[in-house]
Structure formats: C-alpha cells, structure tokens
Subunit: 340 residues, 2 copies
C-alpha cells in the first residue's frame, strides 16, 4: 500500500512537470529557420488544411506522402553533385589498378583534374565513371566505402562534411511534416545506395523511404556466403520522368506534397499536383551567393528554368533561399557529425 | 487554481484507470492462435533476445526488419495463386476485344477452362497472360480493377473473399513483431500493384512496405493530365534469387527475420540468416488438408522440397500448420470484409 502511494505521488509529480514543460514546447515555432512570408505561410496553411479532421481538405495519415529531392533540395549540390565528387575520389583511389585510365576519358580528366575534359564526355561519360566506381563489390563493401568517405571528406568552401551541408530549414520542415502525420521520402536522381548510409542519421529518413537511381544487383554465394554484388549495369535512372515512375514502383501512392529545386523535379511535381484534393509543389530557388550559392537558368547543375517560368500558372511555390530562410546550414556543426 | 486542481484529479483518475487496465492487457497472449510448441517458443525467444536492451543479441529498432512472403505464407495459394485467378477472370472479361484469343494458347485454354492447356504453355504462357491483363491501363485504373475484383470474388471451397483467406496466426505474428519495434515487409513473387490495394487493410502493411514483381511503368501526359501507364513489359521478377535483390533495392537493409513457405523463398532466407548477429528463418509447411491444404515436395504451386531437406542443417524453423496453428483463418469473417 505504502509503496503504491509513493509510486502514485511520483507519477503525479511527473504529470505536473510534463504539463509545465509541454505547454511552451507545444507553442514553440516548429519552423524557426523560416522567415515569415508567403512560402512559410503556404506550408503552414497546407499542413493545417490536410490535417483538419472533418475539414474539406482532410487527408488521412496513411496518404500524407511527402517526397523531397535530395541534391540542391536537402543538401548542397553546387558546384558539383556530392556523388560525382565521391566517384572522382574513387577513380583516383582505384587508378593504380587501372593503368588504362591514364589515357582514356573521362578517367584521364579526373586524374588530371581537368573537369572540362570530363564534362565534354557528357552524360555517357558520367555513367561510365559511376559504373566503374559503384560496381564490382558487395553491397556491404559499397556501403562501407560511402560511409567512410562521408565521414572524412570535407567540402572546401565551407570546410564542413557534406552531411553538415544540409539545409536547416528543410530539416525543420521534415520534422514538422512527420509531427503532423506525414511520411517523408527522398526521391532523388542520385544513387539510392549512396544516400542510404546517411539519410536516417541526417534527415530522419529510413533507408526504405529513400527512392533513387540504382545499378543492377545480383545474388551470389561467395565462399559459401550469400552476398549481393553490384553489377556494372544501370538498373533505373530515377530522374525527370523517372521520378513519378520511381514513386509508383516504390511507394505505390501519389504524394500530396513534393519539393524539388530544378527542372528535373518538374514531372514529380506535376504528378503530385495532378492528384485529387489539395496538393502542394515547391522548389528551392538558389538565390544566396553569400550564404550558399546563386544559380538557376544556366547552371551546369540543378538547372531551374522552365519550372521558374511555369510556377505561377501552376501554383508552385518558389522558395527564395535568401528571403525565406533565416539560416541555411545547421548552426551547431557537431549536431550532425557522424556517430561513428 | 480550482480548475487546474480539478484537471489534475481527473488526470490522476485516468492514470489509476490506465494502471489497472493495462496490466491484464500486457499479460494477454499476443499469439493466441499459435499452439505451444517449438515453433512458437522459437519465435518468442527470438523476439525477447533481439529486444533485450543490453543483451548480447540486441538489435536496435531501425534494424528489426522482418520480411514475409505472401502466397502460401500470409494467404492461401492453393490450388492456384490468387493473382493468376484474377488474370484468368480478366481474360474472360477482355475476350470480346481480342477475338484472336479464341484460337491462341494460353488464352484459348483460359476461355475454355482447360487448365492443362494453360499449364502446358509454362512460365512463358503465364507471363503472356499477366502482361495481357496487367498492362495497357493507367496505374489508377489497374488499382480499381484489383480492388473491385478482390471485393467481389469468392474462393469456391471456403466461400470467402480471398482477403478473408489470410492466416490468423500470421496476422497475430505481424502485430506482435510490430509491437516489438519490428518493421514488417512483404517480399513476394506476386505483382506489387496486385498486392498493394489490400495489404494495409488486411495485414497492416503500408504500400511502401510491399516488395514484389512489377511491369515497366511510363510517365505520360494524357489529355493534359499526368498519368502513370502500365506497359506490357516485365520490369522485375521478385522471386527466388530476385528476393534478396528486391530487398536490397527496396529496403536497403538485411532482414533479421524472414518467413516463407516454399523453395522460392530459400534465397531470401539464406540471405537473412547470413547476416551478423541473431537471425531467424521460417517456412510454413502446408500439412492441413482438412482446414486448408496439404502439399509440399511435388506441388504445382509453392513447392517445398529442398528447403525441407536443408532446414535442420540451417537452423530454419518449419512451422507445421496442422500442429502449430490453433486456427487457420480469422473466425469472424466480417472482421476482414473490405471497408468499401
């Protein structure tokens, strides 16, 4: 008797404490890094509308699917996609095993730091680089390569790990959506196996909620041990018109919110907006040369051109990085350091 | 002051009530349809081991991935896979638009109810049937076809909808695993778009946690409306050695528990068991001709032969339907009737 009375008073104290501390927490701004303005207001209005039970725009939690592009939408893609930089570093690392690379483009260009020569080989050259550096090993070995590269390689201008060059306002938005019953997915042209080692830790997005491009994988028994081996063959390119396809094959539901930053995201956003009921499509516009980068119509990465022209007619939100975001990167770098 | 004192005593009462009522709930058997025995004990021991914080077999929640085959593991597959029956019905429905089917196998066989003739066309014939009936429409239209067929078509022997011919012990196991922090996935040779319309309602498994075979899909703008169109071309066969590949591409983590019922599940289970730490692989053995069906080594569907021979050596659990399951199907048919 005595013990349970004690337990009860402990519980009551805990209750009172939780009442005291939860009130300010509930009132706290869920999007502190977003400036007041049209973009922020549109997001808050949309979330309020689709979560209002009995409201005309109500969407049940299982259908609150939000898809985010990765490069340029959740983390920095300028002046070069992080995965391409990883591929370049792998070429340098593997060069001694491939003497023929010294005289063959695009490998020669990478080894000599001649990015114009690499660029001249076009999409075909990029694919060749990706396949040469992303296949021929087990799935486990590739994951380790990526993790170790991400844990040690720093971006030059900001002297930060790439996983620290994620956008603080987007981290808040992802958390805000999840707190409102959304399921958040990444839908990126990047390689799914390149993203998965970091998405859970950095964005709170589990590997199975990452949709991306992939190479063919093969089940093999090596020395009596079943392994998945990555083959030098493209399986799927999850970009442009591939994005809605990837969403269909992987998620099986049409998103109600999609966020991109370039013309490569247009089909994903068109597909999202064409569903029934209230929908939202957004693009990050990189307008901030000082805090990040400024590029759009004529950029070599993340070109935002047609989408910019068509945004107003289609009701797409253009998020202006300079105006809409109070901060760009997480302030406390340690917060995002790898845990191992 | 007065009001918050009242609120507090209401909360205390609520707390006491929850303490009283939660005790029996916690003590309730989570697997009431499983008989006591080795299979049940192995499951309970495994779950206890991987969820024991600080224990040597502890697995963090994000890595508690459980994969289940569908046909013959979660619902009836005998005497014929449900999806094949759907394809046969679609052939009959579409026959007037395809006069050539009257004289061409395997279509002729389906139209004349000559299953031997259909069977004689082998895997190639089955693929032809699947492609002819599963493509050429939008993703939305196909989902509606499937939903309407599942809501109205009854299996003859049991006079139940197919969604009512799911295994009650497995529904309990799925819920038990989820209650213990597992993420549950379906990994089936069946078509992902055929399963998704029912998995959330019937198994509590959301569409994005269903991995299966697929046809190629294409993003098209039809009459100004963006649509996904299903093409008459196989995209991926998620069967046998394709299962670990599907798991890698879709989930991106190796399961710690995998449950199948046939030799087609062996690679998934081998891949699962080969991971580090404690693992579990199980097969349903269909031994119950009275309550369901009895078949294994020489069956035309769900052949369980090699896996049966190799189970003991590999530490795989063979779940004997007759001995291990108290009931096979949910008792209250209404429970599983479609909600619309």
């Amino acid at each position: 008797m005595r013990k349970s009375a004690q337990t009860l008073s402990t519980l009551v104290l805990a209750l009172i404490a939780s009442l005291i501390f939860s009130a300010p927490a509930m009132a706290a701004d869920p999007l502190p890094s977003w400036n007041d303005g049209k973009s922020r207001q549109a997001i808050v209005d949309f979330v309020a509308a689709v979560t209002e039970e009995g409201g005309k725009d109500y969407v049940p939690p299982g259908d609150r699917i939000a898809t985010f592009d990765n490069d340029g939408t959740l983390w920095v893609e300028y002046p070069m996609y992080t995965q391409a930089l990883f591929a370049f570093d792998r070429v340098i690392e593997l060069a001694s095993q491939h003497p023929e690379w010294k005289t063959r483009q695009p490998f020669k260009g990478v080894l000599e730091g001649d990015m114009k020569a690499v660029g001249a080989t076009g999409m075909e050259g990029v694919m060749e680089l990706i396949l040469a550096t992303h296949s021929g090993m087990t799935a486990t070995a590739f994951t380790q390569e990526v993790s170790s590269w991400l844990a040690t390689t720093r971006q030059k201008r900001f002297d930060r790990l790439y996983t620290e060059l994620v956008y603080q306002p987007q981290l808040e938005l992802l958390a805000y959506l999840r707190a409102n019953g959304f399921k958040t997915f990444i839908v990126s042209g990047g390689g799914v196996a390149f993203m998965r080692p970091m998405t859970e830790r950095v964005y709170g997005i589990a590997p199975e909620q990452v949709v991306g491009s992939s190479v063919v994988a093969e089940f093999q028994v090596r020395d009596g041990k079943p392994e998945l081996v990555r083959m030098p063959e493209i399986n799927f390119i999850n970009d442009k018109a591939g994005k809605p396809v990837g969403i269909y094959q992987h998620i099986g539901k049409r998103p109600i919110l999609a966020f991109g930053n370039s013309d490569s995201d247009m089909q994903m956003i068109e597909y999202t907006m064409a569903g029934q009921g209230r929908r939202m499509g957004l693009y990050v516009h990189h307008t901030d040369a000082e805090r990040e980068y400024a590029y759009d119509r004529e950029s070599h990465v993340g070109t935002l051109d047609k989408a910019l022209d068509q945004a107003a007619d289609n009701g797409w939100i253009i998020v202006d990085m300079k105006k809409d975001w109070k901060v760009v990167f997480p302030g406390n770098q340690r917060m995002l350091l790898p845990t191992k």
